[in-house]
Amino acid sequence: MNTFQAKLVTIITEALLEQELTQRLVELGATGYTVSDARGKGHRGVRDAGWEHGANIRVEVLCDEETANRIAAFVVENYYRDYALVVFIDTVEVLRENRF
């Protein structure tokens, strides 16, 4: 297969931030993003969908390394202190046909 390497940034955070965060991701250079609903537990306790705005989202962004770093720096600076947040980055092979 004809592939190229890209970074996959995964952000798990509060559902309330979806609109704002996805808007910022685009401003930071992401060509797209994928969001799914999640629930979980971390330092800030259990977060679940039973309660409006109480749930988490799981946001994935495929991008080049530079953008990945920009995104990671942005979310840590802006959301880490006050919001439930986990961020991790993986390296994946993306099909040539997809461009980012």
Binding site: E14, L16, E20, G50, W51, E52, H53, D82
Partner: protein, 310 residues
């Protein structure tokens, strides 16, 4: 006890006993949207048959009351409860604002007792939702620091509660009693039935806060009962001074006494993110909502009846 309250008790017991019971979030969203629309419509229809002019001064008084409440709550929280500034401001915002669920229970309670009230009370419900948020943010930030007012005003005026309640008021007002008759089976006939399901879910949600309550400590438990009673007294008094009927004054007391658990948490999370949301929710859902729907509402009616004697 009103049977709809028994549904709340069932939910509370099931949640506390960790029963495997959970209504889907979609149903909860549907029920709360329904209650907002139904309350708004009912108010709007009755507004349609009376002049709006005399309402203006009353609306002003209510706005004033709603702005005063968080200012009263804040020092109690900050100095009595030793909460950090953002936390104190956030809790004050919750108690300054109102709870639609509590209002709906009070409406059902008055209806069961045949106590009537002014048709514009739902308007007060809509109006009292907002000032608490704004005052709470000012308490947290002061006037100087960078509040994103644009975002905030959007959040306040275009939140789900205001849109559905205000929209219902407008539709009811435009449609009037005849226009509404064909919608009555749904929006009036099912009101108590759907309220009972909503309260079942509220019981489960409140039970979920009992654990958090233990962590936030005894101060908030006392706060969550004493402050609503004090605010209820204030609301009933204001209603009496405004010449509302006994039922109307009681409902204003209920509004003052109730604490928001939908609109304000979302607004605070965005505008005062450093406040710990668990504190406000534990107090509003774990203490005040259960207190108000069981003991509070009858008490506020008593207070209003007592004031009415003067």
């Amino acid at each position: 006890m009103d049977p709809v309250i028994l549904f709340f008790v069932l939910g509370l017991a099931a949640g506390a006993g960790k029963a495997d019971l959970r209504l889907p979030p979609a149903i909860y969203d549907f029920l709360s949207a329904y209650l907002l629309l139904a309350i708004g419509l009912k108010g709007g229809i009755e507004l349609a048959v009376q002049p709006v002019g005399p309402l203006v001064p009353k609306v002003a008084v209510v706005l004033l009351l709603a702005s005063l409440l968080p200012l009263l709550a804040y020092p109690v929280l900050r100095f009595g409860g030793r909460l950090a500034r953002p936390d104190a401001a956030s809790v004050a915002a919750h108690y300054g604002s109102v709870s639609v669920g509590t209002y709906a229970v009070a409406v059902a309670f008055l209806a069961a007792r045949g106590v009537s009230y002014e048709s514009y009370l739902p308007l007060f419900l809509a109006i009292m939702e907002m000032p608490g948020i704004v005052v709470g943010i000012l308490l947290a930030r002061g006037l100087s620091r960078g509040v994103r007012w644009g975002r905030l005003l959007h959040e306040v005026f275009l939140g789900k509660a205001i849109v559905l309640l205000g929209g219902g008021l407008l539709i009811g007002w435009a449609a009037g009693p005849e226009g509404f008759s064909s919608l009555e089976a749904f929006y009036s006939g099912l009101f108590r039935g759907l309220l009972s399901l909503f309260l079942l879910e509220m019981g489960l949600l409140c039970a979920g806060q009992l654990g958090a309550l233990r962590r936030v400590g005894p101060f908030l438990v006392v706060f969550g009962i004493v402050v609503p009673v004090a605010f209820g007294l204030l609301g009933c008094a204001a209603g009496t001074v405004m010449n509302l009927s006994t039922g109307g004054a009681a409902l204003l007391g209920v509004l003052a006494a109730s604490a928001s658990y939908i609109a304000v948490p979302a607004a605070m999370r965005i505008s005062v993110p450093e406040a710990n949301p668990a504190i406000s929710l534990a107090a509003a859902l774990g203490v005040t909502f259960p207190f108000n729907v069981t003991l509070g509402i009858p008490l506020y009616l008593r207070l209003a009846q007592w004031f009415a004697r003067f």
